[in-house]
Point group: C2
Chain length 218, copies 2
DNA sequence: ATATAAAGTTAGACTAATCTAATAAAATAT
DNA sequence: ATATTTTATTAGATTAGTCTAACTTTATAT
């Protein structure tokens, strides 16, 4: 049996190790707002349970089983977010903290029903992929807007690290998934982008913003 | 701040004391499947917090504040049950354990949205009243089917103490809220009722069953 | 290459929620 | 009216999850 708290550690470790396959005690602690010694002892416990690979002073990795369990929690989180937006009328900036709680509900039928009512979606409201029932997740193809060149046209695929505040900012600029925009100009000194889309003839987007928008060229 | 566990104690105490205004340590323990000493110390803690009135060896009562808090938890539980049945397609026998988990979600917006999507219902899927946002609950008017006489016709208003098994039994007899039935006969020795409704020309209902159906005469 | 800083670990304490065993009070039955 | 049973309380142990303080190892910077 995996406790709610353990589930949170697995989820954090999964997300932190998406890029390089492992994460440090320090990173996990920062992410979860928990002190290192607590993380350390929890990692030992999860290692006992066969969910992570722990070796002193080394970064921590998920075992195949740990990875699957983590993916299934993320699946519940993202299905929930999608349900809250699509079926309950919440904004994409309102759903994260509610989904953080609902992801721990123990009822396969509940999440199966959500999945069914949504028509088995592959992405959440922020464009992040939803792992399948076996914990398999296909990472989103696409590049960061910050990597694009002036003159290119792109479509927005996903928001990376979308805090509620950032999503609210995007709302204020009428930026949402699927939006098409054209890159007019990039400032040399700070990489600020000038882009145009729909009503917005020239909007300025900071480099920080551009690094958090995943797009495809069109 | 009231913990999830404390919320469960308040809820149990509220429901147990609905009839006579108080409940004993023993009753609470039985209800929650928790040993008496644990209940005892929790009651002292809740008394510290001003949520219950605790005096050694006396039955325990909720304070006005405790009563309101408890009613609000029950509100969340019952709104959730209604949502699961009305908006997600669950059967009334499937929703209790899911709602027991969702009732602890901390998000006023979440439950307000549910309430709104349901059109501000006054009853849950089992006919139990839903407390309003201030924790006020109007108890269901009605009498037990077991108190009715042969020849009378009644409409089913609510299921009392509806365990999943009992609700599944009612499903098998095609008995649901709003159903009208006529009492044909009552056996003297065991109070078994013979009733008729819709396709069912004579169905036998044990006294145990009849005590759990709240009805109004028509 | 060594000093310093950062990250990781160990030890020990604390809180919440549970338990068992022992004792005390209240209720019940003869 | 007293003995017995049931209920309630106290005392003390246990587990999960957290912390701080002290120490160790690894990484970084001059």
């Amino acid at each position: 049996m995996i406790s709610q708290v353990e589930e949170n550690y697995l989820k954090a470790l999964y997300l932190l190790s998406e890029t390089n396959g492992s994460a440090t005690v320090n990173e996990i602690g920062k992410q979860m707002q928990i002190k290192m010694p607590t993380v350390n002892s929890m990692m030992k416990k999860l290692a006992e349970k066969g969910l992570v690979v722990y070796e002193s002073y080394k970064p921590i990795k998920l075992t195949p089983r740990g990875k699957k369990e983590a993916a299934l929690i993320i699946r519940k989180h993202r299905l929930t977010e999608m349900f809250l937006v699509e079926k309950m009328g919440f904004g994409w900036e309102q759903v994260h903290s509610i989904a953080e709680q609902i992801e721990h509900i123990r009822s396969a039928e509940f999440f199966n029903k959500i999945d069914e009512l949504l028509g088995y979606p592959h992405s959440d409201p922020h464009g992040s992929p939803i792992p399948d029932i076996n914990g398999k997740m296909v990472p989103k193809e696409g590049i960061k807007l910050s990597e694009c060149k002036p003159g290119e046209s792109v479509k927005i695929l996903a928001v990376i690290h979308g805090s509620d505040e950032f999503l609210t900012f995007l709302n204020s600029r009428e930026i949402f998934l699927g939006l098409k925009m054209k890159i007019k100009h990039i400032e040399n000194f700070d990489k600020t982008m000038l882009v145009s889309y729909t009503k917005h003839s020239t909007t300025t987007l900071s480099h920080t913003v551009c690094e958090r928008l995943l797009v495809e060229k069109i």
